[in-house]
Amino acid sequence: MTTKPPTQPLIRPCTLVYLMLVTLTIVTWATARMGLSGLSLSLVVLGIALFKGHLLADWFMGLRFITGWWRWVIAVWLLLPGGLIALGFVLSYRG
């Protein structure tokens, strides 16, 4: 009796994450090319950027395999400047 080697999808999960990052980047660029603007759109674009950063930290930097404080260090970094940027844009629209 032989043991079957572990099987895996033809496209690695990390490659799917890369393709998702590319897609989200093109969506962000397209909003700018279409001349779209406004507070809601800016916050959505910022949210996409923060999500992309989290994907990069988890899948490319390998933080998804880490436990404890180091697991969330990049997520915390994304939220702090991200929150301040969001606050700056909200205040700019409130005049």
Binding site: T7, I66, S92
Partner: protein, 206 residues
């Protein structure tokens, strides 16, 4: 091929993305991670300063942001994302003890980094050719200083990757000892991470 195998699957080595082990520290040298956090802190302050300075110059920021080349920014974002993906594959390769494949991924990543530098240099040449400088206005002061600060980090990241690729080419890393590859990769991912925020902030959000 075993008859029970699906056409869409085949046996390939385990990538980093499916490792079962759980670690306490991030990949690479912990000292380098402290350096990475310090770098991220500086960029974070820079980003917040941009957003709050913009509060008092909304019209100016929106007007001059429209003069930037967003197509070039798209190419640069894709170049950095692709290079990060290549570096990650290089780390996977060395964990599987495949030095030659690791070296190929690393040089491919360095190539994408070079694409970023060329495109950004062309952008700078265009701006400087129009007489734009740090003192032109507040928006260009932020745009030029932020992007050039990041540009310098791309150069440093490429120098690190070249050193790692050369050592890997000499057989300096293995499945059991590849901290240098992981450290170089972590720094390069940090450079990409910063650009992922910089790109929408400076080129898109208005």
């Amino acid at each position: 091929m075993n008859g029970s195998d699906s056409i869409a699957t085949r046996a390939i080595p385990e990538p980093v993305a499916t490792r079962d082990e759980v670690l306490r520290y991030p990949p690479g040298d912990l000292a380098l991670w402290i350096f990475i956090l310090a770098e991220l802190l500086v960029f974070g302050v820079f980003f917040a300063a941009y957003a709050f300075t913009r509060l008092n110059h909304v019209e100016l920021f929106n007007t001059y942001q429209a003069t930037l080349n967003r197509d070039a920014a798209l190419i640069n974002t894709l170049a950095l994302l692709t290079s990060s993906y290549f570096v990650m594959r290089g780390v996977v390769a060395i964990r599987e003890n495949d030095s030659r494949l690791c070296v190929r991924w690393l040089w491919a990543a360095i190539g994408m980094g070079a694409v970023f530098l060329v495109v950004k240099t062309v952008e700078y040449a265009h701006h400087f050719g129009e007489g734009i400088s740090l003192s032109t206005n507040t928006f260009y002061m932020f745009y030029l200083s932020l992007t050039f600060f990041h540009f310098m980090h791309v150069i440093l990241g490429m120098v690190i990757l070249v050193a790692v690729a050369l050592k890997a080419g000499r057989g300096g890393y293995s499945r059991t000892e590849h901290t240098g590859v992981e450290s170089g990769a972590s720094y390069w991912h940090m450079v990409d991470l910063v650009w992922l925020i910089l790109f929408p902030l400076v080129y898109v959000m208005r």
